[in-house]
Symmetry: C2
Subunit: 338 residues, 2 copies
């Protein structure tokens, strides 16, 4: 096999078969994938399905705490998880640029396989295309995922939010965004700055099962646009307000330092392993304690509450008693963060 | 809205919302898509699922008989259809290059919506990323699809093929490949040369229901690598041979002329609206007549049969009594054909 990807690897012919047989199938050990049909045959699921898709174009493809492969698995697993599903199956589709290193490709494939295995999801179908040099950027990945809705998640969604509800965040915001910036050389090297990229399915399922049905109103992973943009999506065009308490926000000194160097706000920086939860006020302490029991949830906090003070807005309340509106991200703070 | 895509449209913030609200949601009219959750909630399906994915990088994005939008819907619908499923839901993910025309984007979105509606599939979830100028080629699209296995399709697959079976093709091979070459200016303009790109779900379901269960052994749409490569995939590493009768092959004079100009063989050119079927010999006339009843199937023919003469090979028998081996496509006859 050559050292780099050539256009032949996307031909659908002999080279494509070699890529599949020598690199992809051995990595994923799936009897469904081994059948190499045009589609994967899956057993009838036990309940309603959740279906999600994401393309990943992160630059550079490797960053502290992860790479595009880990991100591509976690991203779709997390979209399913915050929708209240148990993720089961992923599809995997590559757009490779002519000249991309086959060694790097193997590294990414191994990272996908390892992340999928540890999240308990199976890669069941895939596709590989190759574009000419200068028509891509090494590697882009799409994953789509199928999960089955957990019975506890019925009714989950922004429309379930009520005044008085509590807002929780599972950890410090903005680590993923800051880590990618560091990998781009836009930040001085910070030893303890790493992406939060992780699969949230175990965390989400644990929390959903820890409290009374209906008390989790909505969950969302704040990726592009960060915590501030995601919270805006919950309340825009509604009579509700989200009031965040600045002093309650978990924060990472490394991320804060990095962001202040670049004039960024961690609340607008992407997370890839955090979950925002809005929950009934009464159950908030149980949700918090459930979050803290899970891997990646030790810094979880109640960061604010839902009111009707400023309909449609997210407001940050400062320790000195002031407040300011946090709008949706406008413009593009950080291109190609995921 | 600007005339062209800028990086802001991939930010996850205000511009991304505008793209979704002003272009995507109005085109697709889906209550599931309108919910804009991280995943689409779908009712429990009635049987085993089929799941498939494909990324589309065709260049140029518009060609006689279709465009990348139509192709992206048909490609995944067809992968599900030839697997014996009724396609139900599609995901849709864009990788746009900074500077891509918003008017062209609207054209493609309309083409996706129109093709999906006519195939009876629903776009239920999506994603949009934007990469910098020079890191893409206008537009790449991934679609993934979920279908439910038809009861008549149980047991479908290459392992069901038996010596004596008939090989059928639903129409002339290579039209898609030749049409894309024409669009690239590699061929002089031929008025009647157009891609065969079409959704095959109605055709496949009609044929499956027209004959006794089990008599359709396998179906496949011969895309990259064409008819010759797909047939090789059926018999490689098996004791079976596929013998094609050259004189029985349906052929398009325009495609033949185009291919001979470029030294190409239509049997290696991609189809995007043809189905290859291997069926029990006894049922072959019924399969043929069912194919001919469907839209796009009027040129269907029995093109060969399965023997054990040359284990693992596909052989083309010429009208003069000679024969030659048709291998898998080696190298890359036509890059970025789909």
């Amino acid at each position: 096999m050559e050292d780099v990807i050539t256009l032949d690897y996307g031909s659908g012919g002999v080279k494509t078969s070699r890529l599949i047989e020598e690199i992809l199938l051995p990595a994923f050990h799936s009897t469904r994938l081994d059948q190499l049909g045009d589609g994967a045959l899956l057993p009838p699921p036990s309940g309603p399905l959740v279906f999600s898709t994401d393309s990943f174009v992160v630059s550079p493809w490797r960053f502290p705490g992860g790479d595009i492969g880990k991100l591509a698995v976690c991203g779709t697993v997390n979209d399913l998880s915050v929708s209240g599903a148990r993720p089961l199956y992923l599809s995997l589709s590559f757009i490779l640029e002519e000249g991309f290193s086959i060694r790097d490709f193997r590294t990414i494939v191994d990272s996908i396989a390892c992340t999928a295995r540890s999240a308990g999801v199976e890669i069941v179908t895939g596709d590989t295309k190759v574009v000419e040099r200068g028509k891509g950027d090494g590697i882009y990945i799409n994953t789509s995922g199928i999960g089955v809705l957990l019975p506890e998640a019925s009714g989950l969604g922004p429309s379930a939010i009520r005044p008085g509800d509590a807002v929780l965040l599972s950890g410090t915001p903005g680590c993923h965004g800051a880590a990618v910036l560091m990998a781009r050389g836009e930040l001085p090297c910070e030893g303890n700055l790493a992406s939060d990229c992780m699969a949230l399915n175990q965390m989400c399922e644990h929390v959903l099962k820890a409290v009374a049905p209906g008390s989790i109103r909505v969950m969302r992973d704040p990726t592009r646009g960060g915590v501030a943009t995601t919270l805006n999506e919950f309340v825009e065009h509604t009579p509700l307000t989200i009031e965040l308490e600045e002093r309650s926000l978990p924060s990472s000194p490394a991320v804060s330092a990095a962001c202040s160097l670049l004039g960024l706000d961690p609340l607008y920086c992407a997370c890839e392993g955090r979950v925002l939860i809005i929950a009934a006020e009464k159950e908030a302490p149980s949700v918090l304690s459930a979050l803290r029991q899970t891997k990646g949830g030790s810094d979880a906090a109640i960061i604010g509450r839902v009111t009707a003070a400023h309909p449609g807005y997210v407001v940050l309340c400062t320790p000195l008693g002031g407040s300011r509106i946090l709008g949706k991200l406008s413009g593009n703070q950080l291109p190609r963060i995921c």
